[in-house]
């Protein structure tokens, strides 16, 4: 493989916090709608906000040629669905807490029930079903518009960290 199509290099100095991260830490769906997809991997994938409730939040992602992992069938990379579910579940936790608290994904298990067809939009719905002082337990599904016909199921945990740990690169 040659070095073709290398993505642009990251800015040498990362900003101290995401631009959409509110100063008072209060969670606000409008902030999510405006800015969560404005940078990084989420921007690259082109996720959009769909809907939310007390402890759940749904995002979507459109099929794209450059997200394909299997050129024969045109099926999207399963990891793109992981990214979608990672974001949806993470934001669902903020939604349940009604505030932004630094957290990191500890683990995720995804069961792929069926392939998402070529060209189809993928929805990722995340739910935080239990919150302790340090750990958030989450679950969710990915679907193509019908929640009763899911593409994938996810379960996993997030751990809360301090803002300094959250932002400190090269954590040991």
């Amino acid at each position: 493989m040659s070095n073709e199509q290398q993505p642009p290099r990251a800015s040498p100095r990362a900003s101290p916090r995401p631009s959409w991260f509110p100063k008072d830490g209060k969670f606000n769906v409008e902030i999510i709608q405006k800015g969560f997809n404005s940078y990084g991997h989420t921007k690259f994938l082109g996720m959009d906000y769909v809907d939310s409730g007390d402890d759940w939040l749904e995002l979507c992602l459109d099929w794209r040629e450059d997200l394909v992992a299997d050129e024969q069938s045109g099926v999207m990379a399963s990891a793109a669905i992981i990214s979608l579910l990672d974001n949806a579940t993470s934001l669902a936790i903020f939604k349940k807490m009604e505030m932004f608290k630094p957290q990191a994904t500890m683990d995720m298990r995804v069961d792929y029930l069926r392939a998402s067809p070529k060209g189809a939009r993928v929805f990722g719905r995340g739910e935080c079903y239990k919150l302790t002082s340090k750990i958030a337990f989450m679950r969710g599904i990915a679907h193509n518009g019908d929640r009763d016909d899911p593409i994938a199921h996810v379960t996993g945990t997030f751990i809360q960290t301090s803002l300094s740990q959250f932002m400190a690169a090269g954590e040991k």
Partner: protein
Amino acid sequence: MSMLNDYKSPHDYKLPPYARALGMNIEGAEDGVPIITMPFSDTVIGRPGFLHGGAMAGLLEIAAMASLYIALDKRGQKYSVKQVNVTVDFMRGGANHMSYAIGKVNRLGRRLANVEAEIWQEDRKRIICAAQMHYMVKLED
């Protein structure tokens, strides 16, 4: 997905569009299995200064598939592959360095493959993220 590619070298493995879009490449091999690299870039950032968990999962997926394809290719028959599930453990934040990943086929049967993959950055022994996957493999007619 089916393949019969006759991998004479791990470098014959062709990365799919998703992998190329994330800047992945093949650089070297361990035991005939390609090492997949992914540079730190705006495309793969999650929280500022760190890799997105989904991008790490993507690197693991590509590394796992590469190791599985090469193992299947050795059988000299055409197979289709379908992923059943994945468990990803995030152990350390992915910092602003080159990431490396490799897959390992733990068991390859007639119908099922159990594959794992791991990511490291500057230190080969310091794993930052690992995953275990199950795939259905089917002999094509």
